[in-house]
């Protein structure tokens, strides 16, 4: 019987201590951040919302090579290549189903032109799942993102408008196929 009474006292004492500790917290600095009024600091290499960037000339960087799509472990990227009148490849549509995306960043790693980049923005909640499907016009930004200088077509051998054969970086002028001189 004494045992039972001792137990009850212990329980009551514990609750008094708890209440005291909670009371003390009223005078401490709060750990909670007033999100969304207070925005947290996101590191630049945080893997959040995906954007498509432009090269330093202001053209779309994406060449629709499909490497991001094949690298994607949840297969949530679908795109179709098309080309302009001068042979420059770009995506006709570029779709990411963000309701499937796991923000792993494999697409960014796979991208040979630094077109697709993950940004520190994580605020992507929607009331309707269908709104999580983003198209190119939702993702394409007017800037170079994290990589400022790279311009794929300036190093590639393919001719595009404004850059003929032999005009890329580190290229010789085209050979004369009618000459037999070495």
């Amino acid at each position: 019987m004494f045992k039972a009474i001792g137990k009850q006292i212990k329980i009551i004492w514990s609750q008094i201590v708890t209440l005291w500790l909670v009371f003390l917290h009223l005078f401490k600095k709060a750990d909670t951040v007033e999100y969304p009024d207070v925005q947290p600091y996101m590191f630049p290499r945080w893997r959040g919302r995906i954007v498509l960037t432009r090269d330093p000339d202001g053209e779309e960087r994406c060449v629709a090579c499909n490497l991001c799509a094949v690298a994607c472990p949840v297969d949530c990227i679908a795109l179709q290549k098309t080309e302009d009148e001068n042979g420059r490849w770009y995506p006709e549509f570029f779709r990411i189903n963000f309701s499937r995306c796991i923000m792993c960043g494999f697409c960014e790693e796979a991208c040979p032109t630094h077109a697709i980049q993950l940004t520190p923005d994580f605020e992507m909640a929607e009331y309707v799942r269908q709104d999580m499907v983003w198209e190119k016009e939702h993702m394409l930004i007017n800037g170079t993102g994290k990589y400022h200088d790279y311009n794929f077509y300036r190093v590639a051998g393919k001719a595009i408008g404004g850059k003929g054969k032999g005009e890329a970086r580190n290229e010789l002028p085209p050979v004369d196929r009618r000459s037999l001189l070495p």
Binding site: C65, N66, I77, A78, K81, R100, K158, K165, P182
Partner: protein, 907 residues
């Protein structure tokens, strides 16, 4: 077989193959570029280097190229020892290679990518300037991106040496070598498309595919069969986002091997054509506007229409679809949708294959023949893959000369140098010069009837008991003796003919020659070309039932169901008009809009080969199954599912049971119960991307996987690719081998037949010992007007491929071909048109090879309708002539063009 040691392991290898081939056959990954199983070795790329040791005491060894080495008994080799050399070789190859992979159509199936990774070269150390090249326009089929070239020389070896092309070569010298045409322009060869697969990197790529490009890993593919002609080449169509993107070759050792013709590769764009019938339509009378009808209602309407209707079958519909029509209308009301003459010729082919002592030649047999006689068939245009095989057959003399000197068969450059221009004999009898003339020993210009007579005379000269022919000229008689002597002396003679000339006696003459050559143990090869993908299958279905299109049109029936058939291409327009006007109800099942469909009361939107499965029977009587590549939208259904409630497999089994010779039809696929470890065969590769996003714009919730009609393959990436069965052999892939070169992993030995055997089953065979003869009556050529012979075009003459934009660019409108002297008699100038009797006014070209008094008429092209070729016609200068917009004289590639005709009429 000899035993050798590679890196300490013992192997039994075939000494007739080169060491590279044997390394690959024994599952070793040895990189290579210039070697190709069909083209042999030249040792130019230095990529397959291995170390060969002189004897057991030799520790240093010497560097040899595996592709140029015959394995010797007790030989000791090392692959590992030369790894560093191979890495250096590829590093130097890669010095000038552009940074193009992301924007290259070859990326993901690039042999150069695979070999670079395999050799261990990962970082570019060279930072000097790269060599560049200007590209050329090479026609509507092929893109040129010369910067990517690694100078392995495979392209020129294929185009010039293998396919016999003359308008493509290597230019410049030293570091500047350039592969292209002497000036920009479309390739002349009918086999240029194979450059796409032959080139180990992205110099030559598929142009129509590049316009609508996706990576290889994103294509949903299936094992399929080409619909372009009667050869039945195995193809591998690829689909993405609901449209057919491209066709590539699917290896079948006995049919197409590694190569397709350009019609097969680029001619399937009609699947995406704007002329497709997207929905079923109905109307009450011929004059009323058609209204759309729901699929289920349409099917019910077809069922109602079938009561008391006749069924008109089609040589381009599958066996199952034709059989379903026969079931629906009953055998008595079932008619072949081809002319009586054509049906008669197809029946006579079946008779020859069954009751004559001949060997029915597949494409490989054609390649292995060492004396060839072509009787009146322009195979380059009617059965193109056969022509490529004939080009290989003339090289057998050189191979024999090499063998006599102990040269191995794969030693390509040595054998070519040895043979120079000596070739195995090829004789051509034709009413006009053909594209094979450059490799022929002799070409004789004669009408189909006269060719048949000469053929019969050859049979008689070989075997006295064959019926004799009288009235040959002295010159013809000496030709007969020459050909008879050559064929008799050959190890394996081959006779080729076909139906395109519409001269039944030609087939019988060809059969007589082949019969005469039978000397008891060895049979002569015989190949008889048929016009369409299932012509022979339709004839098999019509055995003992001589009901052709003429009988259908005169049957007096008030209702008709036409299956995948444009009657206006089969009979004279006036006859078809009369027939259709007499009908109360015309139901048409077709995939493309045509004149017959326009007049129907009920049009059902039928699927093409890419959206349905079925069976075709090719020219040799080989039944081959094709699987649908993708599911069409619900309003488009396969003809089988329109015509019948039964499943494809049930119809297939009933068809096999009901028809003579067709028992093997049920054994073409592994059957409904097929599974490997509980899984079916997948249509999508295991890297297929975008599954959760490709339909997300329509609905973010993903639909259930589409179900397959056969129960063998699934529309999914889940499953086990074909391991057991050649008919399920889809797009090949092996670890480290992403390009089409990976096919060797599935072959018995590199370059040999598939481990699973060959696709397709022969329905016809013969065990005849005696020698029955045909004694055809050949009508004399008429003396009035111009004697007519048909001219076919690979691009344009065939109905379906003519809807493909790239093919249209290479095709032309109808024309006639005349001897220059005749044109002068008619008073024609190059810009004039010719009025053809009972037909349209068309432009003309002049050809020197055409005999005076004869005229070649282009068939199948727009402007003329010549389904029944008359004996002779009258020609006249056309009044108020203007050449049609799609007249492109430059697309007619013939060697005997008279200079004058090129001037005004070329567009």
């Amino acid at each position: 077989m000899v035993s050798i040691t590679i890196d300490g392991k013992n192997f039994e290898v075939d000494e007739d193959n080169n060491l590279l081939q044997e390394c690959l056959s024994h599952a070793m990954d040895l990189p290579y570029f210039c070697w190709h199983p069909s083209m042999g070795s030249v040792g130019s790329c230095r990529q397959c280097a291995v170390i060969e040791y002189a004897d057991d005491n030799d520790e240093k060894g010497r560097l040899v190229m595996a592709c140029m080495t015959s394995p010797r008994e007790g030989g000791r080799y090392s692959l590992k020892g030369a790894r560093k050399f191979r890495a250096q070789a590829i590093e130097s190859i890669m010095i000038n290679h552009p940074h193009d992979c992301p924007v290259c159509e070859e990326g993901g199936e690039c042999h150069l990518q695979d070999m670079t990774v395999m050799s261990g070269h990962a970082y570019r150390r060279y930072d000097g300037k790269k060599k560049t090249h200007n590209n050329q326009y090479l026609g509507p089929f092929i893109n040129h991106e010369m910067n990517r070239c690694i100078t392995c020389y495979r392209c020129v070896r294929y185009y010039k040496d293998y396919a016999g092309g003359t308008d493509f070569s290597v230019q410049a010298s030293h570091d500047n070598t350039y592969f292209g045409r002497w000036q920009e322009g479309a390739y002349e060869s009918e086999f240029s498309g194979n450059l796409v697969e032959v080139c180990p990197t992205g110099v030559f790529t598929d142009k129509p595919f590049a316009k609508n490009y996706v990576r290889k890993w994103d294509l949903q593919t299936s094992p399929s069969v080409c619909t372009g002609c009667g050869v039945g080449c195995n193809t591998n169509p690829g689909e993405r986002y609901g449209t057919l993107r491209r066709i590539v070759n699917r290896f079948n050792d006995e049919v197409n091997g590694y190569f397709l013709c350009d019609k097969g590769r680029f001619g399937a764009g009609y699947v995406n054509s704007e002329q497709r019938i997207p929905v079923s339509m109905t109307r009450d009378s011929h004059e009323a506007d058609p209204v759309q009808i729901e699929p289920d209602a349409a099917k019910q309407a077809l069922k109602d229409a079938a009561k008391g209707a006749i069924g008109i079958a089609s040589p381009r519909a599958s066996m199952e679809a034709n059989f379903a029509l026969r079931e629906l209308v009953g055998e008595d009301s079932f008619y072949a949708g081809i002319s009586a003459k054509e049906l008669g010729m197809l029946n006579s082919i079946i008779d020859i294959y069954q009751n004559r002592p001949v060997n029915i030649a597949n494409i490989k047999d054609i390649e292995n023949s060492d004396a060839v006689l072509i009787l009146g068939e322009d195979i380059t245009n009617t059965a193109a893959r056969m022509a490529l095989a004939v080009r290989q057959s003339v090289k057998n003399l050189g191979r024999q000369m090499g063998a006599d000197l102990n040269f191995p068969n794969w030693h390509d450059a040595a054998i070519r140098t040895l043979a120079m221009d000596r070739k195995s004999p090829l004789y051509i009898l034709s009413p006009h010069a053909t594209r094979l003339d450059d490799v022929a020993k002799s070409v004789h210009i004669s009408s189909a009837a006269q060719s048949a007579r000469i053929g019969l005379a050859i049979a008689h000269a070989i075997d006295n008991s064959a019926p004799a022919v009288k009235g040959l000229s002295k010159e013809e008689q000496s030709l007969v003796d020459e050909i008879a002597g050559t064929l008799k002396g050959a190890k394996q003679a081959l006779i080729i003919s076909g139906t395109s000339s519409m001269e039944p006696a030609l087939l019988e003459a060809a059969a007589n020659v082949a019969t005469a050559l039978n000397d008891g143990d060895s049979k002569a090869n015989l190949a008889l070309a048929v016009p369409e993908s299932n012509s022979l299958g339709l004839a098999l279905m019509m055995q003992g039932n001589e009901k052709a299109l003429e009988q259908a049109m005169s049957s007096g029936s008030k209702k008709a169901i036409v299956l995948e058939n444009d009657l206006y291409r089969r009979a004279a327009s006036a006859d078809v008009d009369t027939f259709i006007d007499g009908l109360e109800q015309l139901a048409v099942l077709d995939s493309l809009k045509n004149r017959t469909g326009e007049q129907a009361n009920l049009v059902l939107a039928a699927a093409t080969f890419a959206e349905s499965s079925g069976t075709f029977v090719n020219y040799e009587g080989r039944a081959q199954h094709y699987y649908s590549t993708f599911k069409a939208v619900d309003s488009i259904r396969s003809s089988v599912s329109w015509l019948s409630d039964k499943s494809l497999n049930e119809l297939n089994a009933e068809c096999a049971a009901a028809l003579p010779h067709c028992a093997e039809l049920t054994h073409l696929t592994p059957g409904e119960g097929y599974n490997f470890a509980g899984l079916k065969a997948p249509r999508q590769p295991h890297r297929y991307s975008g599954r959760t996003a490709m339909r997300a714009n329509i609905n973010v919730h993903e639909p259930k996987q589409e179900q397959d009609e056969n129960g063998v393959m699934v529309y999914s990436m889940e499953g086990v690719p074909a391991i057991k069965d050649a008919s399920v052999f889809n797009s090949p892939w092996a670890p480290g081998w992403n390009s089409n070169q990976s096919v060797f992993k599935f072959q018995e030995f590199a370059g040999g037949p598939l481990k699973q055997g060959n696709q397709g089953k022969r329905l016809l065979e013969n065990n005849v010992k005696d020698k029955p003869w045909y004694e055809p009556e050949i009508a004399g050529d008429s003396d009035n007007g111009f004697k007519v012979f048909p001219i076919y075009h690979l691009f344009g003459s065939e109905e379906l491929s003519a809807f493909t934009p790239a093919i249209q660019e290479k095709a032309t409108s109808a024309y006639i071909a005349l001897n220059p002297a005749d044109a002068e008699k008619l008073g024609l100038h190059s810009t004039d048109g010719v009025q053809v009797e009972h037909n349209g006014a068309v432009p003309f070209i002049l050809r020197n090879s055409i005999a005076a008094g004869t005229v070649g008429v282009a068939v199948g092209l727009s402007g003329l309708n010549f389904r029944n070729i008359p004996g002779s016609i009258a020609l006249d200068k056309a009044e108020d002539w203007q050449s049609p917009d799609n007249w492109k004289a430059a697309n007619i590639i013939v060697s005997d063009r008279s200079a004058e005709s090129g001037k005004g009429s070329a567009s």
